[in-house]
């Protein structure tokens, strides 16, 4: 009797354990927000098929599917499965649910599948893209795009935005850009590229020293410091259009930081004789002074709700990072480790601040959680790593690194993984600034 009793108990414990994972799948959030990069989701993206009414050639099909694969891979959430392992016939893979044999995908470990149908006629394309959950055999997202061939990249990005929105509830980074400084022309000029490094373009061309680009919330203006008139002044320029303003107070005018969602910015001005942070309108008029303590207060960065700023101050003897509540005017110190902590950048998620610490002659990037106040080092033994900037969804960090010798722009996840170079231009690239993500241009 006892034997049977024990066996039953064991079964009673084991059976649910076997079934439970299945139960969990039903409620599983595809991407674990706490550390989405710890376990990348295996995704399969076979080469696109030609849509029934066209005979689109292989190169065009491959180009579109590769572009989709690269764009999604950039997010760091996915493990792109090797097409060599696919079980299906690569020519004309089925596109829609009734025709897909999901076992082909589940058995190679793919949890997500994207199929694409492309029709290219002269310079017009029609593209159908579908995202499937292979375990459930269910379509999650389906979109159709039509337009000129030149819009292919934009269509792919729109679809990626839909995919990420479905998986995380956030639209991601696909409409964002990165501004940075490059010396390729012989001077420090500001350049702009897409979030993935595509299509870099020169923004300033004044042959002087240009620094600290900062994006307005609607992506329509860039504020920056320039020595155009022989001293550091702030210029606020439209990206498309001629409207511009200048903040040219006596002394230094530095490092503007736009208030989230408003046409206002914070900047360090020293005309009063002391280097303090002021709040200004987007056209350069001073609204009020934000810091009061004697000493240098520089590098403001706003919390996403616009109620607090983190900034660098040497009021304690060496540069450290402080947080000030704009309304209560209370100031508290954030960094206590190390003697030189600068360049803070507040995550758009509000929970972390990334910054640069100079230790033993080397700059490295650290992240600190606002609540726990524990700093974590993200870069190691790889030259100087500076000026970190969060992606608009708080999932990635752009920064500059001299690990290859000349300074280049790098990207890593919020946890410091997947560090890779963004782009390569003549000269040296520094001070990346990631823009907000605007919904569908």
């Amino acid at each position: 009797m006892r034997k049977y009793f024990i066996k039953t108990i064991c079964l009673a414990i084991f059976l649910p354990l076997l079934i439970m994972p299945g139960l969990c799948w039903a409620d599983y959030d595809y991407i674990d927000i706490k550390n989405p990069f710890l376990r990348k989701i295996p995704i399969a993206i076979p080469v696109f098929s030609s849509l029934p009414d066209s005979k689109t050639k292989k190169p065009a099909l491959k180009k579109a599917s590769d572009l989709l694969s690269e764009t999604l891979e950039f997010t760091g959430y996915f493990k792109m499965l090797d097409r060599g392992a696919f079980l299906i016939n690569p020519d004309n893979a089925p596109l829609i649910t009734p025709k897909i044999n999901f076992n082909n995908w589940v058995s190679i470990g793919a949890e997500l599948l994207i199929t694409g149908g492309l029709s290219k006629k002269k310079n017009t394309i029609v593209m159908e893209l579908r995202l499937f959950d292979t375990f459930k055999g269910k379509r999650l997202v389906g979109k159709k795009y039509e337009g000129p061939l030149g819009d292919l990249r934009q269509m792919i990005r729109r679809f990626c935005s839909e995919v990420i929105y479905h998986l995380t509830g956030n639209r991601g980074i696909f409409n964002s850009k990165i501004a940075f400084i490059s010396t390729g022309s012989g001077n420090k000029e500001i350049y702009i590229c897409d979030f993935d490094g595509y299509s870099p373009k020169q923004f300033t061309n004044n042959k002087s020293i240009n620094l600290f680009p900062a994006w307005s919330s609607d992506l329509k203006y860039i504020a920056y410091t320039s020595y155009l008139k022989g001293k550091p002044d702030i210029y606020i320029k439209q990206l498309k259009g001629k409207h511009s303003s200048v903040i040219a107070q006596k002394g230094i005018n530095l490092a503007p930081a736009w208030v989230p969602g408003r046409f206002e910015l914070a900047a360090t001005l020293s005309f009063s004789g002391d280097q303090e942070i002021y709040l200004l309108t987007g056209t350069g008029k001073i609204i009020k002074r934000l810091t009061r303590k004697w000493g240098s207060d520089v590098s403001p960065t706003w919390s996403p709700d616009g109620k607090k700023i983190a900034f660098v101050s040497n009021r304690a003897g060496s540069p450290q990072i402080y947080i000030k509540d704009i309304n209560s005017r209370q100031v508290e110190r954030l960094t206590f480790n190390g003697q030189y902590n600068t360049q803070p950048n507040w995550s758009p998620r509000g929970d972390k601040i990334v910054y640069c610490a100079l230790e033993k002659g080397r700059n490295n990037i650290f992240v600190v959680d606002i609540k726990s106040r524990q700093p974590i080092q993200l870069t190691f033994d790889s030259g100087d790593n500076e000026s970190p900037s969060w992606s608009p969804d708080g999932s990635l960090i752009a920064f500059s690194s001299t690990r290859e010798g000349p300074s280049r722009i790098y990207i890593m996840t919020a946890f410091g993984t997947d560090q890779r170079r963004l782009l390569f231009l003549r000269g040296e690239q520094t001070n990346p600034k990631w823009s907000p993500n605007v919904n569908n241009e």
Binding site: K231, G251, I252, L254, Q275, S387
Partner: protein, 181 residues
């Protein structure tokens, strides 16, 4: 009346020239003093040649001395410790000489540039460079130079004189430099 005006003009020219000679080496003082007292009309020419900075074989000892003093003013930089904008005793000596020169050349306006080494970050270094330039300005003003004669500019780490990545290069870059705009 005209005579008084003429005497007044002569004095106007004489006094600065006299001050020049005082700041030069002792031996030359006697010669130049004689020259200027006997030929007052030459004084404006001398100040003109000083401005053009030409040194010809015929340049008088006095002119050479003037040039040397000006060159010293322009080339002697003041240096700082890492992350500091305080002036050590050597810097203070250099600045005292600069103040003397500025007193001797009371019509000259000057710009002080503040610079930093490449370590640390651009924003913080721009602020530090300004503190260094202001530190020099305050010292000169305390020695009696009118504040309106001195403007300051910070270049942070943007204009190093030595692009090396070692302490020797960094020490050369942590400086304040005077120039005549």
């Amino acid at each position: 009346m005209r005579k008084n005006l003429w005497i007044g003009l002569v004095m106007l020219f004489l006094i600065p020239v006299f001050l020049f000679t005082v700041s030069c080496a002792q031996q030359e003082v006697k010669d130049t003093a004689e020259e200027t007292t006997t030929e007052p009309e030459k004084a404006p020419e001398e100040t003109a040649t000083e401005a053009t900075k030409e040194v010809t074989p015929d340049t008088s000892a006095e002119e050479r001395a003037i040039m040397a003093a000006r060159n010293m003013f322009l080339s002697e930089d003041v240096y700082f410790e890492f992350d500091k904008s305080t002036l050590d005793s050597m810097s203070q000596d250099i600045l005292s000489r600069k103040a003397d020169w500025m007193r001797d050349n009371s019509d000259v306006v000057v710009s002080v540039e503040g610079h930093c080494d490449e370590r640390g970050t651009n924003e913080y270094n721009l602020a530090l460079g300004e503190r260094r330039a202001e530190s020099v300005k305050s010292f000169l003003v305390d020695l009696g130079i009118d504040a309106y004669r001195i403007s300051t500019v910070s270049y942070g780490e943007e204009r190093p004189v030595d692009t090396g990545h070692n302490e020797e290069a960094w020490a050369k870059n942590r400086r304040a430099h005077c120039l005549i705009p």
